[in-house]
Amino acid sequence: MRAYKPKDDVQKKPYYTDRFWVAPQVPKYDVETDEVFAKDLAALKEKFEILEAYIQVEQMVVYINPEDNFEVIKFFKEELSYDQLSELSAIDWLAKRGEFEIFYQLLSMNKRKRVRVKMYIKEDQAIESVEKLFRSADWSEREMYDMFGVKVNNHPFMKRILMPYDWQGFPLRKSYPLQGDEFAQWYEVDKIYGKEARDIIGPELRDTARIDRYDSERFARLGHEVPRGAEVKDDDPINPQEYQEEGGVFLIKKLKKESSVVIDDPQR
């Protein structure tokens, strides 16, 4: 958790940032401290190259080479009885080290242990699908492709899952702007009305906190409604909100407050 800092003197040093601040990390422990994990790791090391391994929050983290991800996950499933793939995604480290970090979160029901398999891949490097081992990887890998642009080989249906099929760009990359690039900002206008309509519809208004009471094109002030496009002056008319039109509606008599009776006692 982030340390609490009092907010009453934030203006004192507005430009101060700690250059040598290092994000605190959860402590790591040696794999030998856990019997089950030590046995698993020893079996794993006989067949595959393990780059790094440690225990963090009672879960073993194993770094592997991206080439043998399918075999490692298969080994975990069939030999070490890790029978659930609970999560799978990527982390964007492109700015820092030019790589994606892929992680697979595995769960063993009879060992009651969780293992995280991690690997680094280059930006345009494709990985092997583990969908044949775990069906849950199907949508996770599609989402990983949709959000990060990580290509997955031998996947049965390698298409975008959340964004439309004709979308451009990968929104969860750190380089993607939160409010979208130009393609995203004009997506619905371009698709429905064509590029010519951009001038008529206009750009998106991204400042939702903006209030302009003289703007009668978008919203009218409640109780001071004017026709659309009319010029609003300071002494704009006051239109009290009425539930019924003046004079009443056809076949419906207008309710008059003076002639109506309020029933206080429902049991009368």
């Binding site: 959340l162 964004m163 439309p164 929104p171 993607y176 702007p177 939160l178 409010q179 979208g180 690039d181 995203a184 900002q185 997506y187 619905e188 206008v189 698709k191 429905i192 009305y193 309509a197 008529i200 519809i201 998106e204 208004l205 991204r206 939702t208 919203f219 409640l222 539930y243 039109e245 509606v249 056809f250 076949l251």
Partner: protein, 169 residues
């Protein structure tokens, strides 16, 4: 024998109401506003609550229809994503004229808190809107009041003519 209790001395001696075609047509239109079921997000829950027995939209003649071809008013209740924008336009085009649109809640009005790449910043970028309801989410009373305002708007219109296009494109 039926008991004839019509008072022929009242209203000029005739059991007749005099009015105009406009008023009759608008009376019919405004009191049978069938709404397209269009719950996109949490505002849809409030819309369903308005339709259920406690708030009872049927009193206003508003019945939710699952087909755009049977509905007069589209209540856009919730966040419109960019992926869905083309479908809302298609459904709006499938509605028969005259048709009206109520934009319900902050997300449908302006995009609301979803100031992101994937949300349409106001449903009026795609289809013309008659009524904007503020709130996150608006209470069922707000939606009822909105429907009553729309009824007032319909009654103020000319019934006979084709509706003017509400937007240039």
């Amino acid at each position: 024998m039926a008991q004839h209790k019509v008072n022929y001395a009242q209203d000029g001696g005739l059991p007749v109401a005099l009015t105009t075609i406009d008023k009759v047509v608008n009376w019919g239109r405004s009191n049978s506003l069938w709404a397209l079921t269009y719950g996109l997000a949490c505002c849809g829950i409030e819309m369903m609550a308005s339709g259920a027995s406690r708030y009872d939209f049927d009193r206003f003649g508003t019945i939710f229809r699952a087909s755009p071809r049977q509905s007069d008013v589209m209540i856009v209740a919730g966040t419109l994503t960019k992926k869905h924008a083309e479908f809302i336009k298609r459904l709006y085009d499938q509605m028969t004229e005259p048709r009206w649109v109520i934009s319900m809640g902050s997300c449908a009005n302006t995009g609301g808190m979803f100031n992101t790449y994937a949300t349409v910043q106001g449903v009026d970028r795609v289809i013309p809107v008659d009524l904007y309801l503020p709130g996150c989410a608006p209470r069922p009373e707000t939606l009822q009041y909105g429907v009553m305002l729309l009824q007032q708007k319909i009654r103020a219109q000319k019934a006979g003519r084709a509706q003017k296009p509400k937007r240039l494109i």
